[in-house]
Structures are given as structure tokens and as C-alpha cells.
């Protein structure tokens, strides 16, 4: 295992964005990889939300015109997907910067908001499924 810290970046460091790679020192590469995988996991979560939102609208359309509630539910799910996609990038940048500067990893209110929305949507779905047909 050659997990020793890598040497200082060479003078011609072309990595982007500079406001990430221009500060601090090189972290252990394993942490950089972990940050990248966490970013990708958020991207997949975003895709899951998008698929769920589109599916809700598509299934509802089989039987009737879309009602306001269905449209709202779909839009909320898609909105969560959008928030996940945006915050995936923001979190990646903030985490990478914090690791380079030796700061503690930042927290984000997005987690709480997403959890709240998922619980709310699940409760609504439970009620709808329980009283359907």
C-alpha cells in the first residue's frame, strides 16, 4: 500500500477550478476519491428524484388529466432532483476546499430539507394508497 501523501503540486497545475486547487495543501488522494464518489452518489439521488417525479405524472395521466395536486407532487419531486444536482456540485467544491485547508467538513441544510420533503411525500403517498379504490 503506497498511501503516502503525494508531493506538492507541480508549478504547471492545470486542475480546475482554481478557487479549489489554488488553496491549501494536497490531501490524501483517498479522501479526494471519497469526495468524488459522494458527489456521484448525490447525482444518482438527483436522478432518482427526477425519475420519481416524471413517473408520478406519467402514471396519473393514464386515467385522467393531471390534477393540480398531482402536478404539484411531481413538481416537488423534480424540484428535489434539481436541488440535489445543484447541491452535489456545491458540496463537492466546499468539501474539497475544506480538505485542502484542513478545515472541518461543512454541513448543509439541504439534508434536512430533503429528508422533510421525502417524509412528507411518503405520508401523502401512504394516505393516497390506503384510501384508493
Amino acid at each position: 500500500m503506497s498511501g503516502a501523501p503525494t508531493s506538492k503540486p507541480p508549478a504547471e497545475d492545470r486542475r480546475w477550478p482554481r478557487h479549489v486547487y489554488g488553496v491549501g495543501t494536497e490531501p490524501d488522494p483517498r479522501f479526494t476519491f471519497a469526495n468524488e464518489r459522494t458527489f456521484l452518489a448525490w447525482i444518482r439521488t438527483a436522478l432518482g428524484f427526477l425519475a420519481a417525479g416524471v413517473a408520478v405524472a406519467a402514471v396519473a395521466r393514464y386515467s385522467a388529466q393531471l390534477s393540480v395536486e398531482v402536478r404539484l407532487a411531481s413538481a416537488v419531486l423534480v424540484g428535489c432532483g434539481l436541488a440535489c444536482g445543484l447541491s452535489a456540485w456545491v458540496r463537492w467544491v466546499r468539501n474539497e476546499r475544506a480538505m485542502r485547508r484542513g478545515d472541518p467538513l461543512p454541513s448543509s441544510p439541504v439534508l434536512l430539507v430533503l429528508t422533510g420533503v421525502v417524509v412528507a411525500v411518503a405520508l401523502v403517498a401512504l394516505v393516497v394508497v390506503s384510501f384508493a379504490g
Binding site: M1, S2, G3, T6, S7, P9, P10, D13, R15, W16, P17, V20, Y21, E26, P29, R30, T32, F33, A34, E36, R37, F39, L40, A41, I43, R44, A46, L47, G48, L50, A51, G53, V54, A55, A57, A58, R61, L66, R71, S74, A75, V78, G79, G81, L82, C84, G85, L86, A88, W89, W92, V93, E96
Partner: protein, 108 residues
């Protein structure tokens, strides 16, 4: 072949490469679902969406393979790893997909 040899016992680069692959495939599945849903409304739009999805997946596949090789070579050469361009590209694609999904939900 040097860059294909694992750098560490934790297989960091390989695991991250696989994470890229499953993210890419999730994106493809998502886009093909949208294409299928568009089919009854407009076959042209559906075929176009499907083609764009396949093309986008091919591009991302190339990008992630390149990332895997460049990162592997950097690890073996003792150079620093990481770059924000590929993550930004994939985040931008997801945001674009979200805009399309929002349009579908609001207009459908």
C-alpha cells in the same frame, strides 16, 4: 499497462471508476424512460431524446474512462489527483435533465 495496476489495497481509483459507470447508467435509464414517455405524444421527439441520451452516455463513458486512466497515471507518478471539470459536466447534464422533467410535469 502500468496505469491499470491497482495503486492501493482499497482500489480507490477502480471504485471511483465504477461509481462513474453506475451514475452514467442511471442517467441513461432516466433519459430512456423520458424518451419512452414522450413516444405517444411525438415519436420524433422521443427518438431524438433517445439518440441524445445514447450519445451523451457515450461521451460520459469516454470522459470517465479517460479520468480513470489519467488518475491512475497520476497516482503511479506521485502527482496530485482530482479535477472539477467532469463533475461540473455531469452536474450540468443533471440540471438540464431536471429542466426537461419540470417542463414535462408542468406541460403534460
Amino acid at each position: 499497462m502500468r496505469e491499470h495496476a491497482p495503486w492501493d489495497a482499497g482500489l480507490q481509483n477502480e471504485r471511483t471508476g465504477l461509481a462513474w459507470q453506475r451514475t452514467m447508467l442511471s442517467g441513461l435509464a432516466c433519459s430512456l424512460l423520458v424518451a419512452r414517455l414522450l413516444a405517444p405524444r411525438s415519436l420524433t421527439l422521443a427518438v431524438l431524446t433517445g439518440l441524445v441520451a445514447l450519445l451523451g452516455t457515450a461521451v460520459l463513458g469516454t470522459v470517465s474512462l479517460r479520468r480513470f486512466r489519467v488518475t491512475g497515471a497520476a497516482l503511479h507518478g506521485g502527482r496530485p489527483v482530482g479535477d472539477g471539470r467532469a463533475p461540473l459536466l455531469i452536474a450540468a447534464l443533471v440540471i438540464l435533465t431536471a429542466a426537461g422533467a419540470l417542463a414535462y410535469v408542468l406541460i403534460a
